[in-house]
């Protein structure tokens, strides 16, 4: 079955005076219909830029440099990277929704919730009554009462605001939802409730969700597959169970090793810091921090190659060709 979203060679960066600093480099990623794909990585690894690139929400100095994003729908296929603004606008919310990072400030403080939920629906051609009905139904999905429509954002708690954003994002039953750090600002209890609601929405609407997060726990809780990002590239891609049980990439191993498991057990952290886009090292971008670094790592860029079933890794350790050379 072809993927719902097929990203090929996607690069995005920050335009400076003379050159473009790469933030996301040459990303290939298939998102299957109906799955929840977690994208994890440390702060600054480019995961939010990837989300913004998929949503075509990059603002200068951020620029989309190259690549294609084939979005396959029942009525045809759209390359999100090339789509003209007008067509993109029609696709948004109807098929492609966004739950932003910093959801706390994503509602306009001076408009009532109803206005902010329905204005898009009205522009997508719904009548006032339909828009209202859809909004109420969407609020129900996240366990909010209809009377919240009358409120201003400042009258709501953080968790409620986050739920309103989710409700707004799913009100048109989109095929794909990109959720960027949606639980970051919430306490753990609210966080778990909202993740459960999101999983229920996926089951009920049959939506596909790309979940961007720095929190391995969140991924473990609701994702089906996970893409581990490091320094603007995908290091490893596979099922959640597969990667958690047997991470292949030394970076994934480090990430998973840093999750506290039992009380009393010492948590192993990764040595060093993630590089900023201005200082991405040559060769494999992880090699300065890698415990298993060897000869080709600082020269050759590892490709994201298939390994076991349902697994891809970008690491020379697993590349037979490189191993043969070395």
């Amino acid at each position: 079955m072809p993927a719902l979203l097929e990203i090929r060679g996607l690069s995005a960066g920050l335009r400076g005076r003379r050159s473009v600093t790469p933030v996301v480099s040459d990303v290939d990623l298939d998102v299957q219909a109906g799955e929840i794909l977690g994208v994890v990585g440390e702060s600054g690894c480019g995961k939010s830029t990837l989300a913004a690139a998929i949503m075509r929400l990059l603002v200068p100095p951020q620029v989309l440099q190259s690549g294609s994003m084939n979005f396959r729908l029942a009525d045809g296929s759209y390359d999100l990277a090339q789509l003209p603004a007008r067509e993109l606008r029609q696709l948004r919310w109807r098929q492609l929704s966004y739950i932003p990072q910093g959801s706390m400030n994503s509602l306009n403080p001076v408009l009532r919730v109803e206005r902010q939920m329905t204005d898009t629906l009205l522009q997508h051609g719904l009548t006032k009554a339909e828009a209202h009905k859809r909004s109420v139904a969407a609020l129900e999905l996240v366990n909010l009462e209809p009377k919240i429509l009358e409120s201003y954002p400042h009258e709501l708690s953080g968790g409620m605001r986050q739920r309103v954003i989710i409700a707004a994002a799913v009100s048109m039953r989109p095929a794909l939802i990109v959720a960027d750090e949606l639980t970051t600002a919430l306490d753990v209890v609210t966080q778990r409730q909202i993740l459960q609601e999101l999983a229920a929405i996926r089951d009920e609407l049959g939506a596909t969700i790309i979940l961007i997060t720095h929190d391995m726990g969140v991924v473990a809780q609701i994702a089906d597959r996970v893409a581990v990002m490091y320094a603007g590239k995908i290091a490893e891609l596979g099922t959640v169970n597969g990667i958690f049980e047997a991470p292949l990439h030394p970076y994934s191993q480090g990430l998973i090793g840093s999750i506290p498991r039992e009380s009393g057990q010492r948590v192993e952290g990764l040595p060093g810091e993630a590089p900023s886009p201005w200082k991405y090292p040559g060769g494999c971008r992880f090699h300065p921090r890698c415990p298993e670094v060897f000869a080709p790592c600082n020269e050759r860029i590892p490709a994201l190659l298939p390994q076991k079933p349902e697994r891809r890794v970008a690491c020379h350790l697993y590349d037979a060709e490189v191993a043969a050379d070395a």
Partner: protein, 357 residues
């Protein structure tokens, strides 16, 4: 059913609470208004009495010059004594202050006689001159605000275009130019060198105030340059202010979200960017009115308009503190009233103000 009725009851309760909050807000604003008015009057009262130079001597000097003969010392003493009594300046200062407030509040705005046009009452003098100042000043500030807000919103929205960047440079230059330089420039070039528009006076010399088209058109053409000088400088400030507000709103998360929702650029601009940037811009209007009133006084003098500014300058020359105080009182009243109106209008624009203020 029970759940329904209880939720309705809650809404009613909330509405009552909201109404009470609005009422308290209005009451509080009005209290602040009255207090500020009183404080300003008090400061004005004492400050003008500290200005060096005895108004009586200046008045006497004027009488002497007018009559062209020197009186002897005894006669001068008598005249000064009489005037001192009329103006009540022999009383101790605190008593003068109390009398002033008493007459102003209980005596139907009796602000004492003026020196400038003795024995005319300062109140009448101010009321006669007021329409000029209101006409020129208020209209030009409001127009400047409308134009500046629109222009600023536009160049903020198109912040990366060349034209927008050029507009910023021009606005900055105009904003830092003193208003009297702009006025003088307009008088010299538009008024005298090119002779496009009249450069001084309230209306053509040969006309009398009456409801004829000739008089009104003369009035309006004479008003263009003074209003333009005010508008250029103030408007440039409003433009830059609104641009900065727009740019900061454009960086807000809710703007990204609005774009992600697939709203048309026009809706994003109107309901999300402009709507939110407008709130501080309305407050700026009230602040700017107070800050630019003195500029208008200069403009009145330069364009020879019989407004409060020229009256103030005349009164200053005579140390006529009654008139000076009356002009200041009026200005303070106008500025504070406008601030009050803006304060009361803000909750309509910004739901958060009702709670936090």
């Amino acid at each position: 059913m029970t759940a329904d009725s209880s939720s309705v009851a809650l809404t009613n309760e909330q509405q009552t609470a909201e109404r009470r909050e609005v009422f308290q807000y209005v009451l509080r604003r009005f209290g602040v208004y009255l207090f500020t008015l009183w404080a300003a009057i008090t400061v004005a009262f004492f400050i003008f009495r500290l200005v060096p130079g005895d108004p009586m001597n200046i008045l006497l000097g004027n009488i002497t010059r007018a009559e062209g003969r020197q009186r002897d010392a005894a006669e001068q003493e008598v005249i000064i004594a009489r005037y001192r009594k009329i103006f009540g300046v022999d009383d101790p200062l605190p008593l003068q202050y109390v009398n002033y407030l008493r007459k102003a509040i209980l005596g139907g705005l009796d602000l004492g006689p003026s020196f400038v046009e003795y024995p005319a009452q300062t109140k009448d003098l101010v009321f006669r001159r007021m329409p000029w100042t209101i006409g020129i000043f208020t209209t030009s500030v409001l127009l400047a605000w409308l134009v500046g807000t629109g222009l600023g919103a536009l160049i903020g929205w198109l912040q990366r275009s060349r034209l927008s960047q050029l507009a910023v440079v021009i606005s900055t230059l105009l904003q830092i130019t003193p208003v009297y330089l702009v006025a003088l420039g307009l008088i010299i070039y538009v008024g005298y060198t090119w002779r496009i528009l009249p450069a001084g006076g309230p209306y053509a010399r040969h006309l009398q105030p009456e409801w004829t088209w000739e008089f009104i058109s003369s009035l309006l053409t004479h008003a263009i340059l003074p209003m333009l000088s005010n508008m250029i400088v103030i408007g440039a400030g409003f433009t830059l202010g609104m641009r900065a507000l727009m740019i900061s709103v454009l960086g807000e998360d809710y703007l990204t979200f609005a774009r992600a929702k697939g709203l048309s650029p026009y809706t994003v601009l109107k309901d999300y960017a402009f709507r939110n940037a407008l709130i501080p811009q309305v407050t700026a209007l009230a602040i700017i009115v107070g800050a630019t009133l003195n500029g208008t006084f200069i403009i009145e003098v330069l364009f020879q308009l019989p407004g409060l500014g020229t009256l103030f300058v005349q009164a200053m020359g005579l140390r006529d503190f009654n008139t000076m105080q009356a002009v200041v009182l009026f200005s303070i009243f106008a500025v504070l009233t406008l601030t009050l109106i803006v304060d009361l209008a803000l909750p309509l624009l910004d739901p958060r103000v009702r709670r936090t203020a």
